[in-house]
């Protein structure tokens, strides 16, 4: 189980960072990114919810 952010698709809605703040944040350009160690928490229910909340499906769950 892994998770990544398709930064080219991100529109900066920040719903990932609001839904799973322990996994996602925004970089200085307002684009979503994984926090250090964030990918280890890919199985958390909040990450699944963040993937669903993202308006442009930029949160990618692997495996």
């Amino acid at each position: 189980m892994g998770v990544s952010v398709a930064t080219d698709r991100c529109i900066g809605a920040a719903l990932c960072a609001m839904t799973a703040p322990e996994v996602f944040t925004q970089d200085d350009d307002g684009v979503g990114q994984l926090l250090p160690g964030g990918s280890e928490r890919a199985g958390d229910p909040s990450v699944k919810e963040a993937a669903r909340a993202c308006p442009v499906q930029a949160i990618i769950l692997h495996g």
């Binding site: 900066g12 839904t19 350009d29 909340a53 442009v56």
Partner: protein, 408 residues
């Protein structure tokens, strides 16, 4: 041939519909909801368009690149002659009226200004603005008009601070922004067009001034980077800034006024908030879901789309009803009841897909602070008339009250 029309064409009621109560569905929505998730309605010019009412179908269609937001597309549908006339007179509005890749290029420029850290840093300023406005209202005394004394000047001061528009100029925009997005009186098309032209001219001049004397707002950042690098010209930058300024005023002010009405008419829910302010962020989401002030978002199909057993043909108009999607019983239990404790997070009141509101996190912070400050400082606040007696905005613009008399 017995009947050349497909069955869904036999009943396509006139649309948009008028709300009787400013936070409830118009009467005809019950029937539309039953006929959903995809049905048909008839616009003012006799044109039939698809109406999306289902939450799941809406969440599938909003991000679909075959559904275009390009207002210059010859098949783009309009909700009122006023809006059609406004669009014919100028280029497509940036961000909201264009598709990718143009949209993505413009959006990338401005998202740093609306990031969550930027919004968090603005919170103390928003609190100061809200406190100052309440001070002034209390000083002037009861009764008051909440829209002009609180709900509008608050987001106005905030978006000016974010963009770097001089504070002393903000009075200039309050009225003009309202004309652009919510005017519904006589001669409204001309009034809206003139107001937008004046705002655009002001920003064009402001950009020139800031090139000589830089400040510290988002406009200054855009000048220093995007304009200097040549990725945007003066005209496009002025258009983008005008759009952000107008949108930043009008949407949040309608939500603050209508949210106040909704809370006051649900005293049990307001009591829950007063007892536990940690419910406030959830209550803001529920207010967004319940009132769905930006109800109808228009699109045109650029290609055929098969969805929910229907075929939307290339060139067909599509009206996305955020209120019906937000009141879909398959997405929420008892969707027509206002419940600040429910998990309303999957609403589409900010839209969905690439055009989802860029200022949504700023708006969330403004609403939280606006409601908390207002109900803390004026605990005896009341509206002397019933909400269905308040003057309302026209059905084809942002939904809300046109005036809000209050007493305490």
């Amino acid at each position: 041939m017995q009947n050349t029309r497909p069955p869904e064409d036999t009943a396509a009621p006139a649309y948009p519909m008028t709300r009787a109560c400013p936070y409830q569905m118009p009467v005809g929505y019950e029937e539309l909801r039953e006929r959903g998730p995809l049905t048909k309605v008839t616009l003012y010019d006799g044109r039939q368009v698809w109406l999306v009412t289902g939450n799941e179908v809406g969440r599938a269609l909003f991000p679909d690149p075959r559904l275009s937001s390009d207002v210059l597309h010859p098949g783009f549908p309009f909700l009122a002659p006023r809006i059609a006339a406004q669009t014919q007179q100028r280029a497509a509005p940036p961000l909201v009226g264009v598709d990718d890749p143009q949209h993505g290029r413009q959006r990338r420029m401005v998202i740093p200004g609306f990031g969550i850290r930027r919004v968090a840093a603005l919170r103390p300023e928003i609190e100061r603005i809200a406190e100052g406005l309440v001070d002034e209202m209390l000083h002037r005394g009861s009764p008051a008009e909440l829209l002009s004394q609180y709900a509008l000047p608050l987001p106005s001061a905030v978006i000016c601070a974010l963009l770097g528009v001089p504070f002393e100029d903000r009075g200039y925009f309050d009225e003009r922004s309202r004309h652009v997005l919510s005017s519904s009186g006589e001669g409204e098309a001309e009034q809206a067009r003139k107001a937008f032209t004046e705002i655009l001219a002001y920003l064009y001049d402001l950009i020139a001034k800031k090139e000589k004397e830089p400040g510290d707002g988002l406009i200054d950042e855009l000048i220093a980077h995007q304009l200097a690098e040549g990725s945007v010209d003066h005209q496009e930058l002025a258009m983008i800034c005008s759009l952000l300024l107008v949108s930043g005023h009008e949407t949040t002010s309608n939500m603050i006024a209508l949210g106040t009405v909704t809370l006051l008419e649900h005293p049990d829910q307001l009591a829950l908030l007063r007892a536990d302010e940690s419910l406030l962020p959830g209550a803001v989401e529920e207010l967004m879901r319940f009132t769905s002030i930006g109800d109808v978002l228009m699109r045109v199909a650029a290609e055929d789309i098969e969805v929910a057993g229907h075929t939307i043909r290339a060139g067909d108009g599509v009206a996305m009803s955020t209120m019906l999607m937000n009141r879909d019983p398959r997405a929420w239990e008892d969707p027509d009841s206002f419940d600040v404790r429910r998990s309303a997070g999957r609403h589409v009141a900010f839209g969905y897909g690439i055009h989802q509101c860029i200022g949504q996190n700023l708006a969330r912070a403004e609403m939280e602070i606006a409601f908390r400050t207002l109900f803390r400082r004026i605990p005896g606040l009341r509206v002397p008339v019933r909400s269905d007696e308040l003057p309302l905005n026209a059905p084809y613009v942002l939904q809300g009250v046109a005036e809000l008399p209050v007493e305490w």
